[in-house]
């Protein structure tokens, strides 16, 4: 099976700034792929390279096996849901959704019928006559989705699709996007800086840092086995152990990560320290120890005794929970 999107050694430099620097990437057809990273890490530029709004300064981009490095946006079988939705304020919802068909020259009746079909897909059947300004944030998001899907793209790109929504709506939309992707069987590629969103929605994700991909894999891979310190730091709330401490714990002299939920408090253990902070999380309490200058967090499930701040305690864990990482 050919990949939906393939980058080979793709770069996009703006003068001296290397927004994207030698990225290799393969997105399988039908997958829900996330590009995760802090702002300025190159994830959005990568999305724009797929959509065609940016041209690579080096390397090759293929969409379904076809080299599109110099193909303009409208000739790619790809559509985008923009971060600010970019709905046309002077058109009603139906005309917004039908826009892609209108510019192709489809007749009014046919394109409106298709637009209504798309609106039904995002559960906005009754909203065709409204103006975007009369919709809530979540509804605008759906209109943007319907508008991008009307041209039947094979790849749908979503730029921070849920960034502007409040928490509850965001969670509902996450489920809905996932369901929609499943139903349509399309390839979804979305950009986010929210690791929870990336982990819960994507079936594969790439973590970006400084214009390069730090790690690529399934959410489990990324979360359980971060490849670099950056990934461990950025994704989730893993402890990052310096080489000396790893060795003191019986491992080789290398950076390692240790997830708080894989640890337990004990009277004796390899890591001892004073409790410096406690944070109640509902499902448990995060206990932060100061072990010879390194902060290490443990998660104590609710119902178990929690030490007081200033007390000295130890952390124990299974040796297999210690995950070694590359130097960076």
């Amino acid at each position: 099976m050919t990949n939906a999107v393939e980058f080979s050694n793709v770069s996009r430099h703006f003068g001296l700034i290397k927004a994207v620097d030698g990225v290799d990437l393969a997105i399988a057809e039908g997958s829900f792929f996330a590009m995760l990273g802090p702002s300025g890490s190159g994830k959005t530029t990568c999305l724009r390279l797929i959509s065609g709004f940016e041209k690579p300064t080096g390397g090759q981009i293929r969409i379904f096996g076809e080299d599109v490095s110099n193909t303009p946006p409208h000739l790619r079988n790809v559509n985008t849901v923009f971060q600010d939705y970019a709905l046309f304020p002077h058109m009603n919802v139906r005309d917004n959704v039908a826009y892609g068909l209108m510019v192709k020259g489809m007749g009014r009746v046919a394109r409106h019928a298709k637009a209504e079909e798309m609106l039904a897909l995002v559960k906005l059947d009754a909203y065709g006559d409204r103006k975007p300004a009369q919709l809530s944030g979540g509804q605008r998001q759906r209109v943007a989705l319907a508008r991008a899907l009307v041209n039947e793209p094979r790849v749908l790109l979503l730029d921070e699709p849920l960034g502007a929504l409040d928490l509850k709506l965001r969670e509902a939309m996450q489920d809905e996007l996932k369901a929609l992707q499943h139903r349509l069987g399309l390839t979804f590629v979305f950009v986010t800086h929210d690791q929870h969103e990336a982990l819960s929605m994507a079936d594969h994700l790439a973590v970006f840092n400084d214009g390069k991909i730090a790690q690529i894999g399934t959410p489990q891979d990324i979360y359980d086995r971060p490849a670099t310190r950056f990934v461990a730091d950025f994704v989730g709330s893993s402890n990052v152990l310096p080489p000396a401490l790893t060795r003191a714990l019986g491992g080789p002299e290398a950076w390692a990560s240790l997830r708080p939920e894989a640890t337990r408090l004990a009277t004796t253990g390899p890591v001892r320290g004073r409790v410096t902070a406690l944070r109640y999380l509902g499902s448990g309490t995060r206990v932060v120890l100061d072990a010879n200058g390194t902060e290490i967090a443990a998660l104590v499930p609710s119902g178990q005794p929690v030490p007081a701040e200033g007390e000295t305690t130890a952390i124990a864990f299974e040796p297999s929970a210690l995950h070694l990482m590359a130097g960076a």
Partner: protein
Amino acid sequence: MTAPAILPARGVSDRLTGVFWRRPNVLLALLGSLAALLLQSFYSIDEFSGVVKQEFTLKTYAELFRPQNLDIILRTLVMAAVVTMACAVLAFPIAYFAARYARGPWKAAFYLGVMLPLWSSYLVKVYAWKLILAKEGILGWAADGTGTSFIINGILSVPGLEGSSLSTSPFGTFLVFVYVWLPYMILPMQASLERVPTSMLEASADLGATRSQTFRSVILPLALPGVIAGSIFTFSLTHIIPQIVGDSARFIGLAVYQQQGTAGNIPLAAAFAVVPILIMLVYLALAKRAGAFDAL
């Protein structure tokens, strides 16, 4: 009766704002002059004694339909329409460039370039144009030197634009009108174009629109409120320009001036003054029905 002020009033303008806020009917005083104008237009003048008869009549409005008066109204309407279109066509690329591409010092240069002419006296500018357009003026001189006088002569031989030189041709009046009103078209246009985010243009391209389709379906409708706002100004054609540059054919502004001054026919002057107001109201209503303000 009035709620206590939450913030202390500072300066005259704050206090004035406060006065209008507490007593909105004071604003009526500003509209009073307009009401007086409207009232005057329903009076008539006794043609024998020249005294204004303060009785309600539509006689004065009927006078507007006399051939020589209708001529003035039609001339004004045509000139305003042509000036508006020319201003819109000229202003668009300038406003578009300023809104989309000009940054930093270029933006400052844009504002300075557009606004600087507004700082000098209107009369000075009109007289300057009279000299530029005169037969011995720089334009004629340059045309002679480059052998392109046939263009000017061609314009001057078009029926309706005849004149001994550009400065005595209606075409000269048109040029000066365009020059004077251009900034009032550029600025609102630029403001409305500035509010169109780049992502909207990208969305249009992403959905398959060509550049000209994006222009027609997205940029133009979104810039339209600015065009309309700019064109309102062009209708308020003043009487000074056609007196100085052109063939001295009368426009509404000049007619108002002469009717209330030289002729002492204040009712007819008032009736003339109501015409552009009516035209504007009809124009705005049509624009609204055509959806020109949908982007607001």
